[in-house]
Subunit: 239 residues, 2 copies
């Protein structure tokens, strides 16, 4: 059986203007190659509605899978989700599951969801969410198009969420734990947990908000029991 084919669409003026060097193409190419998916084409387009819609429709018709990178943040130039809805001819609106995912990123909860942030919960009708264990705002899969963030750490995490769903491998499950302590305070304990649970990939993502340091811990495994065991140990670090 022939390998599935894929295309990538990078969305972002910052790449075309030479300000930012794209990192996601190289990451995705390597991951797809390792999984036996043939990346056949990459396109980079600007934050331009018509250009994005045309590219999405051309690529999704020609390939088994399309991966997009960029343009799903909270600002006026983040138009990817709307363009995907337009390309598929479906409506788009704030969706409750995406809104709930987003809320988890803010300690103040509901009250943190300004109109700008709520933009990140707008999902085209019929799409399924892509988990974002790093910063919560989800990506989504619309038929064969996987829509992901441009920030490399988030893009990478989303790729790992999507890949098991398209290659028939054992799906990775993930848990995340927010710890209100700096990364260095928990590094040693985390290392020990990782050593006890080699079947679980444990990542830590430091953040600072309102003058406080914190760390999001993301655990991923195809082994439910090991994942639960490691997650419970990490939760003990929060107290």
């Amino acid at each position: 059986m022939a390998n599935p084919t894929a295309a990538m669409l990078v969305i972002g003026d910052e790449i075309l203007s030479g300000r930012t060097r794209d990192a996601n193409m190289y990451t995705l190419a390597g991951r797809l190659s390792a999984m036996g998916v043939d990346l056949r084409e990459v396109r980079v387009v600007s934050d331009d509605r018509a250009a994005i819609v045309v590219a999405v429709n051309a690529l999704r018709a020609a390939h088994d899978h399309v991966f997009t990178s960029g343009g799903i943040g909270p600002t006026h130039d983040d138009i990817t989700a709307d363009c995907i809805a337009e390309a598929f001819g479906v409506p788009i609106d704030v969706r409750e599951d995406a809104r709930q995912a987003l809320i988890q990123n803010y300690p103040e909860g509901e009250a943190a969801l300004t109109p700008a942030r709520l933009r990140m919960a707008r999902i085209p009708e019929g799409a399924s969410l892509i988990d974002n264990p790093v910063s919560r705002a989800p990506g989504f899969t619309m038929e064969n198009v996987h829509v992901m963030a441009g920030v490399p750490s988030v893009f990478n995490a989303m790729v790992e969420s999507v890949l098991p769903t398209i290659t028939g491998g054992a799906p990775l499950m993930s848990e995340s734990v927010r710890i209100d302590r700096g990364e260095s305070d928990v590094a040693e304990a985390l290392g020990a947990i990782q050593a006890r649970f080699p079947q679980v990939a444990i990542g830590s993502y430091p953040f600072q908000r309102d003058g406080r340091y914190g760390t999001n811990i993301v655990l991923r495994s195809a082994d439910r029991a090991a994942l639960d065991g490691a997650t419970n140990e990490v939760r003990e670090l929060t107290v």
Copy 2:
């Protein structure tokens, strides 16, 4: 007068397989931006004749200039020159000026020109040569398509050979402002500034570094007064 537009076509299986990280896109994007040429689109395709011909014809019809990278070496998979000839519907053969340029690269002269090396002197009819001061084997310009090597040092040298022949429009000026706050905190205010300064393209690029969230704001315009006005307003968001 509007700036000229450009597209880039990167040709190479090694990029799509994840074996090599492309460097030329970033280089070309920065140089074109500095010259006032708008890079609107990049495509990466494999060493596949049909894919290259289709992409060349689509891009040269849509943009003032097309820059290609890769596939002009001596081996069997270097098919770019043939594909350009096919895209333009012109014959291709070894050309004397290209052959003379090539000979300069070999101390043993004429005798060094094996059939494989001679492939690098095959030029589509009607093209003009692009000087290659690094390794001599020339690139070429066919109408609005500039065909260059993929090896970064050679690509860069060829870009510098071509750029002076292209008339740049009014150079874009840019300013950037670093804000030590998350993107969603400034999204609304940025949208308002963008609405007041339609002549300025305002992009926001979130980052996370040393556990802190921040946002780089980049403003670009050919209009100095508008750029300064918008930049001043963005700077007020930093306090």
